[in-house]
């Protein structure tokens, strides 16, 4: 019973929980709202641990599949079709984990419309799990778009002074992209008479069709990742979002775009992906290098971390698209699996690390009400425990071995060397750039003599803050020192994916 509806529970429970939280009403019932949200997110996390434990390794088949009729219009059928494989399962676990962190992080900080705040994140959790679990494109699209609504609300209600500009920019960017994805999905649905994603994977398409579909997907996913040059919404959204919003945005929402590439672009349009891989690799490397330099120039900590996110996501898309380049230069695809797996590891790790970095900024912001680097200096003197966490996460962000931040970057660099020396060269520049912008910020904010009276009055983190930062640092170490279980979970799926996308889908003679 549990197994056969586990995914529905992972989607439905947070949605239900969100409604219950909303039902607690106004801020006079805030304590109840908080506890309810905490219980709900704990239960969901527990369920996703069950999902991880019962997940069968060594197969690329969809697991925990649920399939029911949903809508039928003429010959087109859309089903309630769920299932997970080695790509989506880790992302669902990550989502559950980060939601719990956000609920705890917002505990005392949010005093205004508490129930609505907590409910928004629970809704988001359910909808994001839906995106990762959906095997029906129509269902996927519903979750994909619906998920944006709570995020708009979070930024729009609890956001900073320029929140309206940021939400509109966010909305326009993402909506612009999604429309094209919808058209592509409809086209594919007409071809196969339904919205089954797995059927879309196997449908034969001509090169022209593939290229158009690829570009339509690209517009949707590139905005979400975000890839250069459609990334400028992210720093604004982060700056205006409350801490919890930033955490989910960085930890999960960016991954949706990357997930889209793996679930749609690569398997549905492998020939177009191959034909356009030069473009994709270039955009990825520009993200790594160009954005690395841009991050160096930032004065606002949240902007800096936002740019750092874009740069790190460049590794993800690089790992995805070097497959064919490896094939061309080596004559076989050894190393391609490592590239995609490295990208996946980078996604998971970036979830923890960027989430933790935003939480660190949040911890300081709650006390100082400033995100500007220049307002700080010598925080270590008054907040030594916090400083230890901040330096740890900064090191993880700079890709220090032993932390999770290293694993993905290392794998993608190893893999991209097989494709081309210069790809690896450009990617490896992050070793210097990433360390430069991250540690320079640490130097200016954390280290040094006490810069001003406000820093002098700072109080160190409380036990609640210690708890969530501690939990995240545990994850950073676990995945840094022992990433094998994560790789084992995804290996069969990714291996199968590479096999699939390195075979042409063109019709004979087409």
């Amino acid at each position: 019973m549990l197994d056969s509806h586990l995914l529905s529970l992972l989607i439905g429970l947070p949605l239900l929980g969100g409604m219950l939280v909303l039902a607690t009403g106004g801020d006079k019932n805030a304590p109840e709202a908080r506890v309810l949200a905490l219980v709900c997110s704990l239960v969901v996390l527990g369920l996703s641990v069950v999902l991880y434990q019962k997940f069968a390794l060594g197969t690329s088949k969809m697991q925990f599949v649920e399939l029911y009729d949903w809508i039928r219009v003429g010959s087109l059928r859309a089903n309630y079709h769920l299932g997970v494989d080695g790509i989506s399962m880790p992302l669902i676990v990550l989502t559950s984990f980060m939601t719990l962190i956000v609920v705890i992080a917002g505990w005392e900080v949010i005093q205004y419309k508490v129930a609505q705040y907590m409910a928004s994140f629970l809704f988001m959790q359910g909808l994001m799990n839906g995106v990762f679990a959906a095997l029906d494109a129509a269902l996927f699209y519903v979750f994909w778009e619906a998920m944006l609504i709570p995020m708009f609300i979070v930024i729009g209600v609890w956001g900073g002074p320029r929140r309206v500009y940021a939400t509109i920019k966010f909305f326009l960017y993402t909506f612009f992209g999604s429309v094209f994805m919808l058209i592509a999905l409809l086209y594919l649905a007409i071809q196969i008479g339904g919205f089954d994603i797995l059927q879309m994977h196997s449908v034969k398409l001509s090169m022209q069709e593939q290229v158009l579909i690829f570009i339509a997907f690209l517009l949707a996913f590139a905005v979400k990742v975000p890839m250069w040059p459609v990334h400028t919404w992210l720093p604004d959204a982060h700056v205006e979002a409350p801490t919890g919003g930033s955490v989910i945005l960085a930890a999960i929402m960016l991954k949706l775009g990357a997930y889209g590439f793996l679930r749609f672009s690569l398997p549905i349009t492998p020939d177009a992906s191959q034909a356009l891989d030069g473009l994709m690799i270039s955009l990825s490397l520009i993200a790594v290098v160009y954005i690395g330099f841009v991050a160096l120039a930032q004065q606002d900590m949240k902007k800096l971390i936002a740019y750092s996110s874009i740069s790190h996501m460049g590794f993800v898309t690089l790992g995805f698209f070097i497959v064919w380049s490896i094939g061309r230069s080596q004559g076989n695809y050894h190393g391609a699996v490592m590239g995609i797996e490295g990208a996946m590891v980078q996604m998971i790790s970036h979830g923890f690390v960027s989430g933790a970095m935003f939480l660190c900024v949040g911890v300081m912001y709650d006390r100082m009400h400033s995100r500007m680097i220049n307002d700080y200096g010598g925080v270590v003197n008054t907040m030594p425990v916090f400083a230890a966490f901040a330096v740890l996460f900064a090191m993880a962000n700079a890709g220090l071995p032993g932390t999770s931040g290293f694993v993905g970057e290392f794998m993608v660099i190893l893999s991209s060397f097989k494709a081309n020396f210069w790809y690896a060269f450009a990617a490896a520049s992050t070793l210097v750039l990433g360390a430069a912008y991250t540690l320079w910020m640490v130097k200016r904010v954390i280290f040094g003599a006490v810069a001003n009276d406000r820093v002098a009055k700072l109080s160190d983190i409380n036990s609640r803050e210690f708890f969530f930062l501690g939990l995240l640092s545990l994850m950073v170490f676990v995945f840094g020192l022992y990433p094998a279980p994560l790789l084992d979970a995804m290996d069969a799926t990714v291996t199968d994916l590479v096999r699939h996308i390195t075979q042409s889908k063109l019709l004979p003679g087409g």
């Binding site: 326009l172 040059p229 400028t232 919404w233 160009y290 330099f293 841009v294 991050a295 160096l296 120039a297 930032q298 050894h334 190393g335 391609a336 699996v337 490592m338 797996e341 490295g342 010598g378 270590v380 003197n381 330096v391 090191m395 220090l400 071995p401 032993g402 290293f406 694993v407 290392f410 794998m411 660099i413 190893l414 060397f417 097989k418 020396f421 210069w422 690896a424 060269f425 490896a428 520049s429 070793l431 210097v432 360390a435 430069a436 540690l439 320079w440 130097k443 954390i446 280290f447 040094g448 003599a449 006490v450 020192l481 022992y482 990433p483 094998a484 994560l486 790789l487 084992d488 290996d491």
Partner: protein
């Protein structure tokens, strides 16, 4: 437990790690005493077991151990593991690292006595010991890189230990970033190893060098380069960062901002030798690339001579020792380039002892001087601190290569090896290492005379409080002075004349320069050296220092005046700091600002995003005006629309309309 070697190896690395974790996380609870006892215990366990491993592998000649501890990850059929390779090379490194670390732990009890960050400091140095031991015991490139970066992290934390000092947090950022430049090459080197060997496991890689040696790759189209040369040079770039070789040497002198025990342990004895160790470990690769060896030799030559020259003009006691370290690392690198890996590791070992000694002695002086580090305010200290004085003298004599002292055996072996080397660049290297001997003797004894002899130039208050340091400081000095004297004579026969390292180091028969050395035992080697060029040059250096700083102290100032341009060049450290800070770093920041403002803010946001949003707005304003509210405007629009639709959709109508227009 002792008969289960894997457990022994594991305990060697985990004992210091446990100490570090306990002192780091529970420092407040266990207090200062608890912190130093737990960490000293951890490192003491590591030291005792290292000595046991040394006996087990070196004296009892047990087989090489190569085994994995756990599988880090498997991806694409490639297994990345954490594991240990223990052979004679590892055994030597284990003893050097753990012993010097133990001495530094004990010394720290005295040196950091009043520091508020006491527990944190012990946690860091134990964490360092763990990282360095992981590095030297690794059996694969991935773990090597882990240790490599982990020691870099601890170095970063320790240089910036006094984090309120601007100079300290500038120096630690600089150290980390310069090291990262090296690691940039190192990572690419590892990636190349994986690509061409299909594994990052040492044993697998070294076993298949023959298969790869003939292959080429084209980084620049049309220029096929030997794969091994590219791999070795990329890896060596990593070594240049960690072992502070020119031109990535700039971070090491600044690292003196850290507390002195750190300078001894990390920035002299162990971490900075990681690059030397790595190249020796990779000898099966480097041997097959003459080009790479030549690069190694040239870089080492430049570092050995030119960094030594900088030591001549420093007034800060620690900086003199720091430049001396750079120069000695250069000697080790030259030896690597000459394929005299054994001599390089031998010098690494002797240097670890006498340089740690010199640093700790300098620290003892600094304690006595109330943290005054400028030698111009010292002098005559031999009267006040006998142990520090004598041990410093021992360290200096070892450093300049006085026969029978440990440094003599290792340095003379290097010079001899270079003399016999046929690596391209060896003849220049030979001149440079000989000149370096004079320079080393000069700056060493300049320091010695300025600190321990001559008039007492400190202020009245300091002079009244001058006294020898407590036993926790002097005991490590004595414990390091002993090996600084004897260890060279003891090990020169097996390491240089014998086959001490066995299969751990691979040398092509044609490159085996150490086989050409004349002497065959330690006495003969020392006696033979009297009267040779290196000895006379060292003697000349000491006498010059004696004349300039004891007999006629006006000479140095006169030299500085007469040779003002070279003097300024040395003072400014050849302007490398300026180059990096005002050119590279500034350019990076400038580039960031420019592309952000032009690319993101102006072009993407300004023109494309906000531009298109504005266009939509303008379109909407225009469209609003169409909806005027007047019925006859709408009626007109409807009629116009109807006509257009008719024209488009009714077949033939457009032709008839056109005809109608023509007729009228």
């Amino acid at each position: 437990m002792l008969d289960n070697m894997p457990t022994v190896y594991l305990t060697i690395v985990l004992a210091p790690l446990m100490g570090a974790i306990i002192a780091g996380l529970f420092g407040k609870t266990i207090g200062r005493g608890g912190a130093h006892w737990i960490t000293i215990l951890g490192v003491a366990i590591a030291t005792v077991l290292s000595l046991y491993v040394f006996k087990y592998h070196v004296m009892d000649s047990h087989a090489i151990y190569n085994g994995s501890v756990y599988t880090w990850l498997v991806s694409d059929g490639i297994k990345l593991e954490v594991g240990f390779l223990v052979d004679n090379l590892t055994a030597v490194m284990l003893v050097v690292v753990s012993f010097v670390s133990l001495m530094v732990h004990v010394y720290t009890v005295g040196y950091m006595h009043d520091d508020p960050g006491y527990q944190r400091f012990f946690s860091y140095i134990s964490l360092f010991t763990f990282s360095m031991l992981m590095l030297v015991m690794s059996n694969n490139f991935m773990q090597l890189f882990f240790g490599w970066e982990a020691v870099g992290l601890v170095s970063y934390l320790l240089i910036g230990f006094w984090f309120t000092r601007e100079s300290a947090i500038f120096a630690n950022l600089k150290a980390f970033l310069v090291n990262r430049v090296g690691d940039f090459g190192f990572v690419l080197g590892i990636a190349a190893v994986l690509l061409y060997f299909g594994s990052v496991d040492y044993a697998t890689v070294f076993a298949s060098t023959a298969k790869v040696s003939g292959q080429t790759l084209q980084i620049f189209p049309g220029h096929p380069w030997s794969v091994l040369t590219v791999i070795c040079i990329l890896l060596f770039i990593g070594a240049m960062g960690k072992s502070a070789q020119f031109p990535l040497h700039v971070w090491l002198p600044d690292s003196m901002e850290g507390p002195t025990p750190i300078s001894a342990l990390i920035h002299a004895a162990t971490m900075v030798t990681a690059g030397i160790f790595m190249v020796a470990r990779m000898s099966p690769l480097f041997e097959l690339s003459e080009t790479a060896l030549s690069v190694v030799m040239v870089i080492g030559t430049i570092t050995a001579l030119f960094m030594g020259l900088l030591g001549l003009v420093q007034n800060d006691i620690k900086r003199v020792v720091a430049y001396s370290t750079l120069s000695q690392l250069g000697y080790m690198t030259v030896a690597l380039g000459a394929s005299a890996y054994a001599a390089s590791i031998f010098h690494l070992m002797t240097h670890a002892f006498f340089k740690a000694l010199l640093f700790l002695a300098a620290g003892s002086v600094i304690i006595a001087m109330h943290h005054q580090q400028d030698m111009r305010y010292m002098g005559g200290l031999r009267k006040y601190m006998k142990i520090t004085w004598l041990t410093s003298l021992v360290g200096s004599l070892a450093l300049i290569g006085t026969p029978f002292f440990s440094g003599f055996y290792s340095k003379d072996s290097i010079i001899e090896a270079v003399a016999h080397s046929h690596t391209p660049g060896a003849s220049y290297a030979y001149v440079a290492v000989l000149a370096g001997v004079f320079v080393t003797a000069l700056y060493s004894f300049r320091m010695y005379f300025l600190v321990f002899h001559g008039e007492e130039r400190m202020d009245q208050h300091t002079r009244e409080h001058l006294h020898e340091s407590p036993w926790v400081v002097t005991l490590p000095l004595i414990a390091l002075a002993i090996p600084s004297v004897i260890i060279g004579g003891f090990f020169v026969e097996p390491m240089i004349f014998g086959k001490f390292f066995g299969p751990a180091i691979f040398v092509l028969p044609a490159h085996d320069v150490l086989a050409h050395l004349h002497a065959h035992d330690w006495k003969e080697m020392a006696l033979h050296a009297l009267g040779t060029a290196p000895f006379l040059l060292a003697l000349g250096g000491v006498l010059t220092a004696w004349y300039c700083y004891r007999i006629n102290p006006k000479v140095p100032a006169w030299c500085a005046r007469k040779l003002s341009w070279p003097y300024k060049t040395l003072l400014e450290k050849y302007w490398f700091d300026h180059l990096y800070q005002y050119v590279f770093a500034a350019l990076g920041r400038w580039l960031g600002k420019v592309i952000w403002q032009l690319g993101d803010v102006r072009l993407i946001d300004g023109v494309i995003i906000n531009g298109s949003a504005n266009s939509v707005g303008r379109l909407a304003r225009w469209a609003r005006q169409v909806q005027s509210g007047y019925l006859y405007h709408y009626a007109f629009a409807m009629i116009l629309g109807l006509i257009i639709l008719l024209v488009v959709f009714v077949p033939g109508l457009s032709g008839k309309m056109l005809a109608l227009i023509k007729i009228s």
